[in-house]
Every structure is written in C-alpha cells, then in structure tokens.
C-alpha cells in the first residue's frame, strides 16, 4: 500500500472533524447526551489541530508552540471561572474568536497585497470588518458585564446616525478597495473604522439587553469565521462558522421574541433606546411587606411553590441559599419548581447554569411556556431578583416600554412574594404594578440573607 500524500490525509482529518462538529451540536440537544457532544468536539479539534501541524506549509514551529502554550495558559483559567462570571467570559471569548478571524484576514491581505484579486478583496474586506467590529463590540460587552464599564445604556442625540455613518464609512472603504485593491493605504483605515464601529454598536446597550447582544455577537463571530473559510477556501472553517453563526442567530431571535423586539430593531443596534424613555408617573401607592417569619409560615403551608430567579439572584450570589430553601420545602412534601424566563440574567440560559451549579435537578427548571399555565394552581410565586420579566404592565399597559413582552404570569398565583432591596424600580427604570397587588408581599432585604432567614424559619418550624 502506497502512503497517501499528506494533503489527502489533511483533507480526511478536516472532513472527520467537520462531521464530529455536527454530531457535537446534535448531542448537545439533551442533557443526557450533551457531554458526549463535548467529547466529539474535543476529538474534532485535536484532530484538526494535530493534522495542521503536519501541513507542509508550516515550516517554523517556535512561535506556534509558544502561542499554543500562551493560549492554553489563558484558556484554562477562563474555563475555570465561577458560574456567575460566565456571561463576561463568553463575551471575552467572542472577542478572542473575532480577533483571531480578523487577524488572519488582515494577514491574508498583506500576503497578497498589492495583487489581491477584486473578488478576494471583497471577501477579505467583509470578513475583516465583521471580525473587527465584533472584537471591540465584545470587549465593550465584557467590560459592561464585568462592571468595569457602566452597565447603564450610554445614549446621546443622533446616536444611530453617527453609528450607522461610521459603519457606512467602513463599508465604503471596503468598496473602494474592491475597486482598486492596490490602494493598500485604505486597508488599515478600514480596519480602524470597523473597530470604532464595534465600540459605538455596544456602548448604548444596557445590561438588561445583554442576552440579545451576546447572542448577536456570537453570531457575528461565527459568520466572520465562516467568511474566513471563504477567503482561505477552507470547508471546515465554513462549516464551523456556519454552525456558530446560526446558533448565535437563533439565540438572538429567541431573545428578541422574549423581549418583544423586532429583528430589525436588533440588527440596527437600537436596543438602548427603549430603556431610555422616562419612568411612568409616580403616585403614592401602598405595598404590603412581610418579615421572614410570616413569609416562611405562608411558604410552609403551601403545596406548590414556584421560584422565579433573575439577575438579582446572581448578583447576590444567592443560588446556594436558594438550593437550601428548595431542600427545606421539598422535605416538607411541597412541590417546588423554578420558572425561567428566556432573558432572565445576562445571557441565554444563565439562570439554568447557576441553579445547576447549586445542584438543583434540571427537571425542576421550567421554561416560560411550560410553567405559565401552572401559576393559577400555584400557592406561592417567590420572585428572587427578577423584575421586568414579571411585570404585568407588559400585558395590559400600552404605554409601558415593555408592552407586549411575554412575561411569567406570577400575578395569577395565590400569593406573590418579591425579595427586593427596596422599592427602587428595576434596571430598566420601569415601575412594576405587581408590587402593589393585594396578593403581593414585599420581602425587603438582600436576596442571599433573606432566603437564608426563610430557610432557618422553615427548618426551625419543622423541628417542632
């Protein structure tokens, strides 16, 4: 048997890797097979990287080895972050992914310059623009999530006009380069303008809109990798990029629907605008509040409790105390489930990983569509750190900025309890009429501390 040429083996390795990528996502569909999906992905990645090292084009290994080690040195600590930090880690990884796609594209341009064909120039230009704007946009998103940058939306008059003009400038530069690829001086300007656009795109966006933004940046990072596959004529890149891009795209559509935003609204990055509208007219209304002892008594007498977690639970790091509460109630034979709104938290699925980390069985975590029908039969809906996703104004008040947004129907439960620091409106600055209902009890305090007190009261009551 004659040895196959190296190139054929490379193609074979990439083909197998491509198939494994598709299987990885297929297996991720259910928690039962999901870890097999990760293994398939790891084998695919090892195969593709290993095969590439034998590519005859690769002649110098020193920097490859050094940078692979640096990459692993950055990647491992980033893989070990606490679950509450997963959104910023994800944003940072979108930034890294887009950075590498952009850099490879830039390098490809300078290798060919000034004799790049017009067609390749078009591909490279688009790829580098998307990669660059995703890089800076994701860095801003990560900075906001890490609270290095203000989480509030930063808005000014004519913002959309300025931002879109900058994007148009980047695209015009790309067109000018396609017309005359030898005009290489324009290339770095195009990259710089695209980098600026990334900053402008994400700066106006508030923390509560991060699930949509992260998904969108995910999709951009994927599509920049797919475009790079076009530039380099690499099918494995095209497939991986298409999978990542469509995943981010689908997630952003899901997030949009969960916030009742149109897709155009997202594509043009006008997320911040809705949040900027002023708060509703203030009037003095009475709220009923309760201390832990009373609340614990009501919870202990319930037969069905639905816990609604939100970003506030993550901020207070209350998930482990919530697990104790779940255990204490379950021990008394009370049916406890969790209602997860698609945009609860700072990224898609954020609440699920936090609660899974706290060892709550995943069959107790219910999507909005699965749980909403259950609220009328629920004795207590306990809201921990969630606000807008429970606001009944979204159903009834046409003037509310969140009108039309699908919400968790907590107000249909017999008793609603809201753990909150004070009466200040949520991040979006929208008043929540839920708090003034007769059936609502406000539990004022820090989420972690208050849930701890509830656990103590319920456990104490059980020992009588």
């Amino acid at each position: 048997m004659t040895a196959l040429p190296t190139e054929q083996l490379l193609h074979a390795a990439y083909l197998v890797a491509t198939v494994l990528f598709i299987l990885a996502i297929k297996w991720l569909s259910s928690p039962v097979s999901a870890r097999r999906g990760v293994l398939a992905g790891e084998i695919a990645a090892a195969l593709a990287v290993g095969a590439t090292l034998f590519n005859p084009e690769v002649v110098a290994y020193k920097w490859i080895v050094v940078t692979l080690l640096i990459g692993a040195g950055i990647g491992i600590p980033l893989g070990m972050v606490h679950m509450t930090a997963v959104p910023q880690r994800t944003a940072l990884s979108h930034a890294f992914g887009a950075l590498s796609a952009a850099l490879v594209g830039i390098s490809e341009f300078y290798v060919g310059a000034p004799h790049v064909s017009r067609f390749s120039m078009g591909e490279i230009g688009l790829e580098v623009i998307i990669g660059s704007l995703t890089f800076t946009g994701s860095l801003i998103a990560a900075g906001k999530l890490q609270e290095i940058l203000p989480q509030r939306p930063i808005v000014y008059r004519g913002q959309n006009f300025v931002s879109l003009s900058v994007l148009a400038a980047a695209l015009l530069l790309a067109v000018a380069l396609v017309v005359n690829p030898a005009n290489t001086a324009l290339f770095p300007i195009m990259v710089a303008v695209a980098l600026v656009f990334g900053v402008l795109l994400v700066t106006p966006i508030g923390g509560a809109d991060m699930p949509t933004v992260i998904s969108l940046l995910n999709s951009y990072a994927g599509f920049s990798a797919a475009l790079l596959g076009f530039v380099l004529n690499s099918k494995v890149l095209v497939v991986a990029g298409a999978l990542d891009g469509s995943s981010g795209f689908i997630l952003s559509v899901i997030m949009c629907k969960a916030m009742n935003r149109s897709f155009t609204n997202v594509m043009f990055g006008a997320f911040g605008q809705i949040q900027a509208s002023g708060p509703a007219v203030k009037e003095e209304r009475v709220v009923r509040s309760a201390v832990a002892e009373e609340a614990a008594g009501i919870l202990a007498a319930a037969s069905k409790v639905v816990i609604v977690p939100g970003y506030g639970m993550a901020v207070a790091q209350a998930q482990h105390k919530v697990r104790e509460l779940y255990d204490a109630l379950s021990k008394r034979g009370i049916d406890v489930v969790f209602a997860i709104h698609p945009v609860a938290g700072r990224m898609p699925g954020h609440m699920n990983v936090l609660l899974a980390e706290a060892d709550i069985p995943y069959d107790k975590l219910k999507d909005m569509d699965d749980i909403n029908g259950d609220f009328p039969q629920t004795d207590v809906a306990l809201i921990i750190g969630a606000n807008d996703v429970t606001n009944p104004a979204a159903r009834t008040d046409k003037s509310s900025p969140i009108y039309g947004m699908p919400i968790l129907d907590v107000d249909k439960a017999r008793t609603v309890m809201v753990i909150k620091r004070g009466m200040s409106p949520g991040f979006a600055g929208i008043d929540n009429p839920l708090y003034y209902l007769d059936r609502t009890l406000m539990l004022f305090g820090d989420a972690k501390q208050f849930v701890g007190e509830l656990v103590r009261e319920i456990a104490g009551g059980a020992s009588h």
């Binding site: 996502i25 999901a34 992905g41 695919a44 990645a45 992914g97 490879v104 997860i340």
Partner: protein, 98 residues
Amino acid sequence: MPADFISNLYVFILAGFVGFELIKRVSPLLHTPLMSLTNALDAIVVVAAIIIAGRQQNTLSTVLGSIAVAASFSNMVGGFFITDRMLRMFKSGKQKKS
C-alpha cells in the same frame, strides 16, 4: 465568480440549514453550554492561524498569526473546558438521589 466560492457557498448554506435544524432542538436549559461549545468549535480558526504563523512569509504574518493562534487556542481550550464543567452540573432528580 470563482468556482471555489460557489462550492463554499453550497457548504455554507447546507451547514447553516443543518445548524438551524439542530440548534432549534437544543433545550433552553442548555443555551449557555450551547454558546460556549459553539465558541470552542468556532476556535477552529486556530488551524488557519497556525499556517499563517508557521509558514514564515514575513514578520507581519508571523506576528498576526501568532496572536491569532493564542487568541483562538485559548477559546478552544477554555470553551471545551467550561462547557464540560457546566454540563457535569446538570443532574436530573433521579441522578441526584442515586
């Protein structure tokens, strides 16, 4: 239009459809791991970065390629690592009791 472009376009569109059909079926429960896994898969850009860093064309290519290797490989390692960590936390009620 170059023939390579056409064949890549076929691959892109078909992979997009496959991705759409598969990702639609991923439970919302696993949307965070989905994002970190697809991120790790996307880090396959490292393959292109390795070639650019290693083919010794000129200093610029080597520098850009090397940064790209570090950036994408950190995603690859970190992405798989954290996805597996997250998935290990997802246990059903039955698994918990056993």
